[in-house]
Symmetry: C2
Subunit: 406 residues, 2 copies
């Protein structure tokens, strides 16, 4: 490998793989719990699981798994077309929306090109950009909501900017950009810059906050809208997402797409889930109730949070123990010992915060019940010889590249 | 897009997407058949479908699809480790072995690097190489079996050669390289060249032809062995494969791998299928019987073929109608009209041939029953104004790049 290694570009060797939320089985093994004693609020999944209509269609498709999937995803594209009035030629199907993000990086980024993203945004934007050798330009977050500063984005557009990544709502901050502000930003961008509008959490928006992103994709040839079936539709385990863009961008993405990137069961389940409005409504309602439940609970504990438009909440621990720069990690570890998996977000430049997904009523209660213990552990801890800067400064200003390598 | 387009490298725009075997549903739609009237012998799938043990494990895992898959594939790596004595740190899991091939291209190829492959080899080697801008060097096939000419490979190794792709058995020719010849070739290669040994069809080899590829992967740090669950294991619809290489190469591939590239059901089904020896034995036996059945049948029709070590047969149509340079396409179309899907291989530089997968006894009979009509259509056809060169010359000498763009 020494000899092989010298041929590998240094930007690849510098990649630290994505750190997923811990699987329940891992934590049960490590802490000696039964699997059903463990509560996972770590990966923004739908606590109701998958849509019943999706499950039914999946089991029907399970009869024929010896065959390759339909590489063109005819039925799912037809379903998306029927549901949203989309031209199938503008749809790219992905092995999760993660796959769509990677296809964009492969097609539009390369060494010498710049990839623009907010300080605290989904780790895969940076990973996918780094994997193709592009230069990551991280835009400092807005101080109030730690979300996208679109003025800051504009100021950093250069001749080399090729892709701009915007998640709305944003993960892990939960922040939201209004339709008017977002469209004005897209409309003003140079035509040579592709905007990826990542709408993984869009199904959780109220009707009032919703906006016609697919209409924008028709209007702006440099806009790609990405959507996921892993969140509100509850198909995270099956892997399926999609991108909507101009036919030209779509054609290009399909050239770099793996021929059978989406499996047969995901195709079937997604096609049916699209029309399970009852399930989607029920999932969004459960999320609203759970969001309120968790906010009330942590408010009673004297802890703050950032307002969230997603199915998760970013809890602000900076004031609980100002001498502890790794507050999120400390609370995360204490909760783990109680069988509750949440997500520390130091790798997002947010070491003073903890992200918790909204679960069922009972899951949320387990989290809230374990929190007093975790906060006690945090209050009793101090920075023991760590060389890290104080939480209050690292939390919101550490750069994306540093975060990804942490 | 015009403005975006100018930023996209020309090698991406030149890619012609992979042409998969036609799905049964498409043909039924186009020709007005019922789906159960159509026979598909086009994608080298297992006609028995998936392993019963795999199905059972899959249905059990289907209870929890709202959760993300285990991104590290702990259980499947443990199963592979138990089955083959592999160190889990040497295993990369892929969304089909196609994914493994793409990861190799992303990590080890780039503009200015050379990617070496045989004239008639799996289309994805060229597609994945082209997608990262590498130079494709196509090695003329051996005249006898149209398979890999390893002497020819050696002569084309340069300072720029980064990846050498060898499939054994080879698709679409069915040819096979003996263990001794193959290991000698690998041992002599410069340490800076990564060999990808694609063993998608290895489960169809007789015990006598088998060789210890995983031992080689331990011995040669520049060897990656790729395996698939899509062929003998019958899991094509679920998408799962794996690569075995040094821990260092594996670490690098995992840096460019999508965090949740393999879905939960594929992980579960593959883990269980590995231990379904009865199913694998039955599948290989059915293949041997079917191979004999088809060979006898086409011999009776006076048509030749290339000896095959896989689960498919490359039928040589060049002598049937020498004036028809697109013999494979003509027979393919005639068979389609009878509801039998096979695979024309002009895009592999083999316009005078037709690839047929080995199916069940009844499926093979349907194919053989339709062949006299198809051959009659071929005999009655001539090159009508096409500008293509005669079949006898294009069939075995057209270059890989030309083939992929065809």
């Amino acid at each position: 490998m020494a000899s092989l290694n010298q041929r590998v570009p240094s930007y690849l060797k510098a990649i630290a793989p994505y750190q997923p939320g811990k699987p329940i089985a891992d934590i049960a093994r490590a802490y000696g719990f039964q699997e059903d004693q463990v509560v996972k609020l770590a990966s923004n999944e739908n606590p109701l699981g998958m849509s019943p209509k999706g499950r039914e269609a999946m089991l029907e498709a399970a009869a024929d798994l010896g065959r390759y999937p339909d590489g063109n995803g005819f039925a799912l594209k037809q379903a998306l077309s029927k549901k949203f009035g989309l031209d199938p030629a503008t749809i790219t199907l992905g092995n999760g929306s993660n796959d769509i993000l990677e296809l964009v990086a492969h097609a539009f980024l390369a060494p010498g090109k710049e990839s623009l993203m907010s300080d605290h945004s989904f780790a895969v934007y940076a990973l996918a950009s780094q994997a193709v050798g592009a230069t990551i330009v991280s835009v400092p977050a807005k101080p109030d909501d730690l979300g996208h500063d679109l003025q800051g984005f504009k100021q950093r557009i250069t001749e080399k900017t090729s892709v701009v990544w915007i998640a709305n709502p944003n993960n892990p901050t939960g922040s939201f950009i209004s339709a008017a502000e977002l469209e004005a930003f897209i409309a003003e961008l140079p035509a040579t810059v592709l905007v990826v509008l990542d709408e993984a959490y869009t199904e959780y928006l109220s009707e009032q906050d919703s906006y016609p992103a697919f209409e924008w994709a028709r209007r702006y040839p440099n806009l790609l809208v990405s959507r996921s079936f892993s969140k509100a539709y509850g198909l995270a385990g099956l892997r399926v997402g999609y991108g909507v863009a101009s036919a030209e961008v779509t054609d290009l993405l399909n050239r770099v797409r793996q021929p059978f990137n989406v499996n047969s069961l995901a195709l079937a389940a997604a096609s049916a889930s699209l029309f399970d409005d009852e399930f989607l409504t029920r999932s969004a309602a459960l999320n609203r109730q759970g969001m309120e439940q968790i906010q009330k609970g942590i408010q009673a504990l004297g802890v703050g949070w950032l307002e969230s438009w997603g199915n998760f909440l970013l809890i602000d621990l900076r004031a609980v123990q100002p001498d502890q720069p790794q507050a999120g990690q400390k609370v995360y570890e204490a909760l783990l010992s109680k069988g509750v998996i949440t997500r520390p977000v130091a790798n997002y430049g947010l070491a003073g915060f903890l992200r918790v997904s909204i679960g069922t009523f009972d899951e949320n209660q387990s989290f809230l019940k374990a929190m007093p213990f975790a906060l006690e552990m945090l209050r009793g801890s101090t920075d023991s010889g760590s060389s890290l800067a104080p939480a209050s400064s690292t939390a919101s200003v550490s750069s994306k590249t540093a975060a990804v390598r942490a």
